[in-house]
Amino acid sequence: MQAGAQWVGGLLLLVAAAAAPFLPNWVVSLATIAFANALVVLGLVVLWRVGLVSFGQALYYCIGAYAVALMGRWIGFTDAIALVLLGGIVAGLTAAGIGFLLARYREIFFAMLSLALSMILYGVLVKTESLGSTDGFSVLTPTFFGYAPHGAQLSRALYWLTLAIDAIAALFVGLYFRSVAGALAAPIRDNEIRVEFLGVSVTSIIHTKVVIAGVLGGLGGALAAMTIGHVDPAMAYWTTSGGFVFVTVLAGSGYVAAAFIGSLVFEVVRSFAVDVMPQLWQMTLGSVLLLTILFLPEGLGSLVSRLKRRVMKPGTAP
């Protein structure tokens, strides 16, 4: 069953990848940003399963993005794959460091402290006039092992790179969810004491989750930076984090794939809301979020479970 799901997921990924040359450029870019952001959302899903919500996930997103941009600015390094990995590593190391602090916090306090940390980074970047303060600065055009595509080719190359990173991330997170550490998410949320008395350090499990989410955030930020071609401190602002949490709720924590679908849906909805109702797009997004919470409390992913239940028990109302 699970192996089957992986096969289908892989196949689908190939379809999405193969479709790129036939999609118009703006769809490719939109999907690339959505799928890059989805990595951050996937990290939030990892945390959410244990009952933690970070209102400061933009911290890692911004670190990943700035790592990429600064490598270009300081030493002119542009290899996309190395840069993405670098973004993930730098963000992961940051998460490993502040994880010692964060892993002790729960509930709203976890959210607040992570928010404060990301806002401090925002403040530092705003203060750094040599990096353009709030204006930010541009990211050098990425290359792929010396191959330097332009225009539509570049968009497609970044799209494929994002899909590849997504696939690897989804695979690893899937494996992680099936490991003891991953499966302990609900138990820790339910009853930390029991987990401790079963012989597991809750703090270190949460620390690991913070690091995983941090790495994913950094990867997402690095890919987004290359896709957008520009970085600025607003990437660390709390509203950016709020947007990621928004997509996490939209997606739900039940399925790995939901993070990617949720992110794509969000990007499409936002883009059309801005297009159709330029003065009411916040209201549109707010309503979507509200309706999701009220009628799809488990997120888009739960549509699948409902569907499955219906398929398995034909004739019974859900």
Partner: protein, 298 residues
Amino acid sequence: MLTASAILTDGLVYAAYLFIVAVGLTLIFGVMKILNVTHGSFYAFGAYGAATAVGIYTNGDWNAALGFVFMLGLAMAIGLIMGIILERGLLRLVYGKDEVVIVLVTYATFLILEDVIGLIWGTQSYGAYQPMISAGNIEIGELVLSNYDIVLVVIAAAVAFAAYWSLKYTRYGRLLTTVIYDRETAAAFGINVTLVYTVTFLIGAALGALGGAVMAPKISVTLGIGVEVIVLAFAVVAIGGMGSIEGALVGALIVGICRAAAVHLMPQIELFVVYGVMALVLVARPYGLFVRAQPRKI
């Protein structure tokens, strides 16, 4: 010496502003365990309502004091109406869900209300400066203080005192304290928790609107003023301890004085003061200054 007294007065004025903005937030959190992002909307609606009220009374050539009271009254009435619609119409549906999910419900509501402001008042900004300008100023040595700022401090003190007194000496206040302390027990003792929730949310909403109203004369009432206030109020409440009224007061004083000191002595760090203080306090005391960690029972 001049600087020291300036820091103190500026800090006090800023703290008054922060306290009025944060007290409603912390009250709602204390009783209902809801981190209410919509608080920013209450603030904004209060400010817009106040601006409308100021427009009415300046056109009608009212007495300034009467006009000021009318301004506060109208803003708080708006807060109450919004509060009852939200609590009865929406929050009721999500009680019992995860704390964080409720935060997101209020976040979604906040997004919607941002555009509602545009629909009601348009996108232009409003000035409501008359109460502040007509209040005049006094000179103390070299410092010039606005009388309106003094009024602001008095209002903050009055709110603090009223909160303290009513929690301690009124029947409803003691009910609230019981609910804050232990919700299940309170319900078991026959306290109507549902009613307590509604009343609390209304008071919180009115206080949020009051914050917007008293600030309206000092600022330009324009789109997006709510966003700034939310995070600031969160920081104050997190420092003092979520749900603690005295915590909000102390948190506001700490942030107010620190910020004023930064502006006078080291303007380059002003940007970090609030979040820096917040992070430091949270590191030392994860639950804020006035809330103790509850030991886990087995």
